[in-house]
Amino acid sequence: MIGYNMEYGAFTIVEVMSSEDFSQKRIGFLACAQCFHEKVEMVQMIPNLLRNALNSQNVWEQGLALSCLSNICTAELGEILVSEVANLLSNQRSYLRKKTLLTLFKIFLQYPAALRPAFPRIKEKLDDPDPSVTAAAVNVICELARRNPKNYLGMAPVFFKLFSNITNNWTLIKIVKVFGALAPEEPRLLKKLAEPLSHCINTTPAKSLLYEALQTVASNSKTDSALMALTVEKLKQMVEDPDQNLKYLGLKGMGSVMKSNPALLSSSKDIIIDCLGDEDVTIRLRALDLVGGLVSKRSIASVISRMIGQMEARDDDDYRNTIVKYIIEICSQQDYAFITNFEWYLRVLMDLTQSSINHFEYGELINREFMNVITRVKAVRAFGVKCVSSLICNPLIYQRSEDQKSTLNRVLASACYLSSEYVRDVPSKLSVVSSLMKRRVLSLPGDIQAVALQAVLKIYSYVCNPEAFKAGIANDSDDSDDEDSEHVADNDDCTAEQLHGEIFPDADDENKSGIKMFLSSCDVDVYEHSASILALLELHKELVDEGSDIPLCTVFSQELLPVAKGAQLQVPQIDLLDEVIMDYVPQLSDDDDTTTMESSYSDSSDEWAASFKKPKRMSKAQLREMEEKERVAAELARKNNPHYLPTSEPSAASPGNYSDDQPPIEELKIPSSQEDFNLGTRGFKEKKSKKSKKSHKMMTGGAAPEGYKKEKTSKQSKKEENDDDEHDSIWKQLDVDLSKPTRESLPTVKPYERMEASDFLSKEKKEKKRKKKGKKGEDSSEGESEKEKKSKKDKKKKRKKKDKLDSTEEEESEQPQDTPEEVAISVSVEDCQRKKKKGRPNFLLFNLKIVITNNSKGTLRVCISLFFISLFRNIMEWLSLSHRPHILVNAFPPSPYCTCLILSPKLLVLHFLISVSSLPEGKYVTFSEFKDQRSAIDDSGFSSIG
């Protein structure tokens, strides 16, 4: 509450919750709702309390339990209490009915299996006589339909009827929202809706409902034109409204129009651009969002200059950074389609680097733009290089970058690269080199320093021998550079000696530090570059002194050409590189040795330099041939690779397809009916055949590895999506077909003998007493707790079964060609000892024998560890340890042994040695046996602990 931790009081809260007095009880429930959550161990203490409250005669108490449950619901609580909660749907008090509806929604989120059986009853509540109950039901369905609209299409007529009958605006808004969710799935619905929606837009006095209707219309691209025009007109009115809230909403609505029908907004362009100057940041940001879609070749210059003006006028760093981002986004959209004058664009970029933003966020973006424009647009290259070389000499950039968060210095990376690659366009090479040799460069990030060093070497080598440098480059890109080379070297302002003086200054010149200062860098790249440049220059100097005339520029004899985005991905990646090289090298020498190999062994240095260019000069046909060979070799290697599983679709494996292949999306479907939970093999086979049909849709989580590369990409994407994963998977599980009749019912978990708070207290006391007395001796509470544990386990087992089912499915889908196999685990305790050691209070040693049918693959390990985690949790609970144990499961796939180490904070160490051995195929342990064996654990294993 209010930001203070209340978890220490969890136990007391449970006590207050069980109080008889309603006013106290109420406070207890409130506290519980506020501070309990999954991670509080006490949550496991309250199901009975909640159950009692739900079944109580007092309406308010029932309501209390509902609102408490809706706040703290966990999967376990949901499963236990869902049937009780659902029963309240038919309660005569509307107060309870509506609360129940909303609580059910929360339970669905935690325990998705409940949705299917409970849904028909929720649907009934749409016709409830009490409007607030209807509203609650609409609320719930609206939330559900927003995520999985397909399943709720059948309900459109019901909502249609409600739409015309209900007058409550709150509910109407939600109904319109449902329509908005359903409409993209069903085009016919849209036609039907056109009339009532336009009626609603024209007549409703409530702005909120009006906005909702507009938003719904706007976000559908297939709406008929008359309605759309009306919507845009209304939105325009909202934007022009003096009320800031309406202005914001109008812009937001236009954002949806922009996505569906961008052409319609051209008439309101001026209004939107005016909003850029609004006082309110939120509105300005919304307008910025829209501007990108409104610019044209003609208007871009004025819009951008307006945006830059805005940027200078405000002193809010976040906002200014956002403008920088938008400017670059707007200019570079559709591959610079709107930019006619790139010199203008470069000037804009330069303006951005000169802006007075303290925390510059998008340095990398500007860096990329410089690189893109200057390398790809030859017409502005000379101008661009002049610009960026002035950046290097600009002390402002270094000053601004002193702030750790600012990324403005990223632009120096491209500046250094560009002004060395196109060095003949740099007006003052001496000042560039001297500013790169200043001490302030050391404060830049390591990678930029490395680029800077490389640039220094390039510029130096050019200045030493500009003719050779020019020749080298002119050779390479024959035709296009001819006219350029005329103005080259006109502005030669420095000599090699001057530059050498900058790079190796006199020892007594304190102002200059030279390249040697980089030698003490802790960045590996910088160190390596500086050391090798140093060595190269010294070697060169020696050679020159000896009278040899090797031009230094042979190091950079080729111009680096820009490569298309994603081109690297097109190059087939080769697994088992060694093998391929062995296959590939002899072939290459067979064909090409006449051209490349011989010449490369010749003595003359010029030819030596030229030989490196030779392979590049191969004709395109030759190149293609080589590529083809490479591909075939890779294919061969893949075929011979025992670890590579061929995919069912050959097209997906061809290397060209990788780059545009989206990682397939996993289809996570929980078994939709209770029957599947039974371990009948038939259910399995059906599932399997369905799965194999869709095998191309599956993802790595439980899918066939369709080529290692694919696996890689999906892994990456999985990482990115990891945050939302958990949440999304719930919504995927809630994605069930609701139209079919269902036979399943809500799980009814019998009230099992859980420890109530009071019991718990007394038991703890007893335990303490017992500990004092001595450990051996079975008293009655022991027996009780055992029973209780068993029943708890029964329940856990249910969930366990599910887990296992899922993992078995996964395993099967991994190898569709195999015969189906079942995984079953049986556990028996072979030996259990309790050891007492000094220093370590308790030490338990179990020898469990686990018999597992099936091959021991990775999923099995997961299965085992899951199983043990649930098992150990039970043990811990039973030992009344409130802390969750840390469990380390160590399995060695080929060997049948697996050790588990469990460390609880109380230093109780359990050591499990599990022997896993394969049973003959077909042997199948049912869960009833399984249960028996479990109880064997109870009898033999734990009672001996005492």
Partner: protein
Amino acid sequence: MIHFLLLVNKQGQTRLAQYANYMELSKRVTLEGEVVRKCLQRKDNECSFIEHLQFKLIYRRYASLFFIVGVDGDENELAILEFIHVVVETLDRYFQNVCELDVMFNLEKAHFMVEEMFANGSIVETNKVNSLQSLLLVDKLSKK
């Protein structure tokens, strides 16, 4: 869906916080800090919506108290704005001219009221009489 409702005073102290989904305490504190800072900076002539991370904040200022509601992208902003007003009216009705101190010293009652009005991220009750009913009952019981 409504994610949280905050009642914050002008000094940035949280007086009432109700979350629909569990969020770690440390995260809550940082979130509230950022939210409050953003809201306090706003001027009167600016709109009542702020986009913050994945939330949209809808706030309303009553004298020195800010009522801030955090929703996800798909909630109707104007409806929430209206809802805030209903909450304030309900508080006002119960406390008779509600002020910050009323909420501070009757925290549990304020919580009860808010809990009656929205649950699970949806608005449950907008009728002032209905939402006060259970609270009045408790008062009656405790007087006995």
